[in-house]
């Protein structure tokens, strides 16, 4: 099967401190991969490298089997969502939808995706009335949901990278997110890479988990190892690489 994303020996240091060391993994289309690790393990650094926000690193990065100088964050078929997603706070949902459409070449594209994006976002976050509120007045959870819907609606991602997307989500939003990720991977062939501290979500959603500890990839879990209790053991270092 085609390798959608491949990381070879990704290493990042801040002075003498090693944030990531020799990370190797491959993502295939339709796969759902979780990146797990305690705070400071290097998950966000890895995601920021993949997004192209961190450009000074060593190692090799391939996207669609093409070698890249930096992460494919600005590619038309990727979507990145960070744990505290920033939207345009002085605008309401429609305004944000238009701006995100502009950032994705909305002027050249038809109006349909823009309207669809706005509708999907407004459906996800509540009523029409809520849609008129400025984003600055939204709760963290609502902002996360809206950002996910908007970014997804205005791109057709083959690769979806989500850094702790479960932060601040209520149970309904969490279930919706799990459903969305599984559906996209299964029906659209989207490769999903996400980090989280909810091990039960990993058990239900992912088909592989990468365990990071102190910037190193120490374990890779599949199959039965994806049970929350086993993942917990791997995370806390009570088991070796499986």
């Amino acid at each position: 099967m085609m390798r959608l994303l491949e990381c070879r020996g990704i290493t990042k240091t801040y002075g003498r401190i090693s944030a990531l060391s020799e990370i190797d993994f491959v993502l295939e289309p339709g796969s759902v991969t979780a990146v797990l690790g305690l705070n400071g393990a290097g998950k966000s650094t890895l995601f920021r490298i993949l997004a192209g926000l961190i450009v000074s690193f060593s190692g090799e990065l391939y996207f669609r089997e093409r070698k890249l100088r930096r992460g494919p964050g600005d590619s038309h078929d990727t979507m990145f969502l960070f744990d505290d997603p920033r939207l345009f706070e002085e605008f309401d949902e429609r305004g944000n939808s238009r701006l995100i459409a502009d950032l994705n070449g909305g002027w050249e594209r038809s109006q349909a995706p823009r309207r669809a994006g706005t509708s999907a976002a407004m459906e996800a976050t509540g009523s029409d009335e809520a849609g008129r509120k400025r984003i600055g007045e939204y709760s963290h959870g609502m902002r996360c949901r809206l950002a996910f819907e908007l970014f997804a609606a205005h791109s057709r991602p083959a690769l979806m990278v989500l850094d702790e997307p479960t932060n601040g989500l209520d149970i309904e939003a969490l279930e919706r997110l799990e459903h969305d990720l599984a559906k996209r991977a299964r029906e659209d062939g989207t490769a999903v890479l996400f980090s989280t501290h909810y091990l039960e979500m990993v058990e239900r959603t992912a088909d592989r988990a990468l365990i990071l500890r102190n910037g190193r990839l120490v374990a890779e879990a599949t199959g039965k190892d994806l049970e929350a209790s086993r993942l917990r053991s791997l995370l806390l270092g009570e088991a070796g690489k499986t």
Partner: protein, 252 residues
């Protein structure tokens, strides 16, 4: 680039600090121009400003220099705000490369600078080259223009005519933007300035100023605007390339 310009213009339209500082600047310019005018015609003291120098030559230069500084500060503040609020992460993880982001900002603020300059220039020219009067033209029964006396309404029509060139200029700039923003805008401004100068020199000014002197204008009409346009294009390209080089080597 068009999408980035739309994006930036939408954001600027909601940016209160931008709107306030932009409005404040033009209000200050109007006060400055009024004071100069009053000083020139003798309402303030003896009228130290020379009457035989085009009003535009000194009512325009200093505000233009201030405008260039203000635009630079606004552009820098805009980038700084994007970095500080973290919104740059959202922008750069859509279909926007760092180069496009930098180019979008540079083009947007260059356009604002050019538009501001054009407005300043047109205002100054409208007052200076076309109404060379010794008292405010609107509220006087008749106005002394050089050695001739004109009805105030005649002067008003001249003013309106001169301001009438503003919409075509703005439309021209808008159309030029569709193609190649920086070069086209600079070229459009340059051509417009040349035409305006020729129009003012050969038609309007002689019509209302019998003793109008060509000596106060440059020997080649519009030569200064050609240099200005060329410098703008060169500066923009250099800034673009420079920022691009830096931007692609910095972790965010």
């Amino acid at each position: 680039m068009k999408a980035m310009l739309r994006f930036e213009s939408r954001r600027l339209g909601r940016d209160r600090s931008f709107i306030l500082s932009w409005s404040f600047y033009f209000i200050l310019f109007a006060i400055y121009a009024l004071l100069l005018h009053l000083g020139r015609v003798g309402s303030l003291g003896e009228g130290s400003m020379p009457m035989n120098v085009t009003y535009a030559s000194y009512a325009f230069k200093e505000p233009w220099a201030v405008l260039a500084i203000i635009i630079s500060v606004m552009a820098a503040a805009s980038v700084q705000r994007d970095l500080k609020t973290g919104i740059i992460e959202t922008i750069l993880t859509q279909q926007v490369s760092r180069s496009s982001y930098v180019a979008g900002k540079a083009t947007m603020f260059s356009m604002l600078g050019i538009l501001g300059s054009a407005l300043l220039g047109l205002l100054a020219w409208a007052i200076a080259d076309m109404i060379f009067s010794g008292r405010p033209p609107i509220d006087a029964a008749d106005v002394e223009a050089g050695r001739a006396w004109l009805f105030a309404r005649h002067c008003l029509s001249v003013i309106l005519t001169s301001f009438g060139v503003v919409p075509p200029v703005l439309i021209g700039i808008g159309l030029a933007l569709v193609a190649c923003p920086l070069v086209a805008v600079a070229a459009a401004i340059s051509v417009t300035m040349i035409l305006l100068r020729l129009y003012a020199q050969t038609v309007l000014a002689p019509a209302i100023l019998p003793d109008y002197s060509f000596a106060v204008l440059p020997p080649v009409p519009g030569a200064d605007s050609i240099w200005l346009a060329g410098a703008l294009v060169l500066a923009s390209l250099l800034i673009h390339r420079g920022l691009d080089l830096v931007a692609n080597r910095v972790d965010l």
